[in-house]
């Protein structure tokens, strides 16, 4: 999806705003949203690609005017509602209650089993690497061209490196394909490659000297040159 989230090379956004001594969470709701993501995605209510795509489909104006954890809240809500786990009206009604009484506590519930499994998730992760029987189509050093595609759904092929020539720098294992997995089309694992692009190829005369960009791309994003 050619969305505003696909930011590589956009100009006019201004300076980088570095916050000194930045806390991990700036307030209680950032931590609550982060934890809610862990507990819901961690229990398989939606997958990481669905999570990311839920942010991408926010309206561009909304995306650019909202905070990072608001993006997360948007996509968690959207995914849980789509899966039928949460009801939109129920959520809105409860939100109104908390708006009227901001000090009202969240009901507490202990779940030692979930605590244990989330702790394991944090420590061990949830790899999307998959075994495939096929051999990788490309080898280190192969010249490739990225495809000129503009899918309406989720993809991890950034616009700034579409229809560009590069060289395979590293061959990784096969991983779940986000383009399929974000839309309930299965995992469709494919090999991933680190592809090296010369800045001149990507940015033309506007390139900085002595710069290369490496982008990690799934096999179907690439064509042999």
């Amino acid at each position: 999806m050619n969305g505003v989230h696909d930011l590589g090379g956009m100009q006019g956004l201004g300076g980088v705003d570095v916050e000194g001594n930045e806390p991990v969470f700036h307030n209680p709701w950032e931590k609550a949203i982060f934890g809610t993501m862990l507990a819901t995605m961690g229990q398989g209510m939606y997958n990481l690609d669905e999570f990311r795509h839920g942010i991408e489909v926010m309206s561009p104006a909304h995306y650019l005017t909202s905070s990072y954890y608001e993006h997360w809240l948007e996509t968690i809500e959207k995914n849980l509602i789509e899966k039928g786990i949460i009801d939109r009206d129920e959520l809105d009604a409860r939100t109104q209650e908390f708006l009227k009484d901001p000090a009202a506590p969240v009901p507490q519930r202990e779940d030692p089993e979930l605590a244990e499994s989330l702790s394991r998730l944090v420590r061990s992760g949830a790899s999307t690497r998959r075994e495939v029987s096929a051999k990788p189509q490309f080898e280190v050093g192969d010249r490739v061209r990225t495809r000129n595609v503009h899918p309406r759904g989720h993809t991890r092929l950034p616009q700034y490196v579409r229809d560009k020539q590069g060289v395979v720098e590293r061959v990784y294992d096969a991983f779940v394909l986000p383009d399929a997995n974000a839309h309930g089309e299965g995992e469709n694992p494919q090999y991933v490659y680190s592809v090296r692009f010369e800045a001149e190829e990507v940015w033309g005369d506007s390139a900085e000297p002595r710069e290369v960009v490496y982008v990690d791309l799934w096999e179907s994003y690439l064509e042999p040159l």
Partner: protein
């Protein structure tokens, strides 16, 4: 609820609480589990973990070799790993090469070694500019002057590989312990937007 924006902090807070409450009431999540898991990133998962990995690589040539060959395996030897760092790659800075990491599409970041990313890493300015004008961004935004003779390699974390920059070991650190070395390693130096501290401070 989400039709008007920017949303107020009060609204976000209420929505977050409402969501959590409903999930608790449905018996789908536990508040203790959430607090504990999220809390890990406030306590023991953060840049100090990556600093230990870097200090070990500076001290132990065999470990460094393994780190550059298979960072996940090397980190596992130090009991380091986990979510959003299942497949890590370390890229080495040198006198000839400076590496810098970005995620243009969202905010991918190696959590097990650096914790959660700072806001600037997640917001549009850094994400848009770093792939196009890294030297300018490093100089103007982070005060890091990368000499014209040095190649800049930008790593856009677009898949499930997570990149950690192995900074150059500062001069004057001969004979330092791993612990002393680790205290010199900053978060920014492992993203590639800064250099490690020097022993003088």
């Amino acid at each position: 609820m989400s039709d008007s924006y920017p949303a107020s902090e009060a609204e976000i807070s209420a929505r977050a609480k409402a969501l959590e409450s409903l999930l608790v009431e449905k018996g789908l999540i536990g508040t203790d589990a959430i607090d504990k898991a999220a809390g890990a990133y406030e306590s023991d998962i953060g840049p100090m973990v990556g600093a230990k990995v870097v200090a070990r690589a500076w001290s132990d040539p065999g470990f460094k070799e393994q780190l550059l060959e298979d960072a996940s395996a090397a980190c596992a030897r130090l009991d380091v790993g986990g979510m959003q760092g299942e497949h890590m790659v370390a890229v080495e800075n040198s006198e000839q090469v400076h590496n810098v990491v970005v995620c243009t599409l969202c905010s991918c970041y190696p959590w097990p070694v650096l914790g959660l990313p700072p806001n600037w890493y997640k917001y549009p300015q850094y994400r848009s500019r770093t792939v196009m004008e890294p030297r300018k961004v490093l100089k103007e935004e982070f005060g890091l002057d990368v000499d014209e003779s040095v190649d800049i390699r930008v790593w856009d974390s677009s898949a499930e590989i997570r990149y950690l920059v192995l900074p150059e070991r500062p001069e004057g650190t001969e004979g330092m312990s791993e612990e002393e070395l680790a205290s010199l390693v900053t978060r920014d130096s492992m993203i590639g937007v800064g250099k490690p501290r020097t022993p003088e401070g």
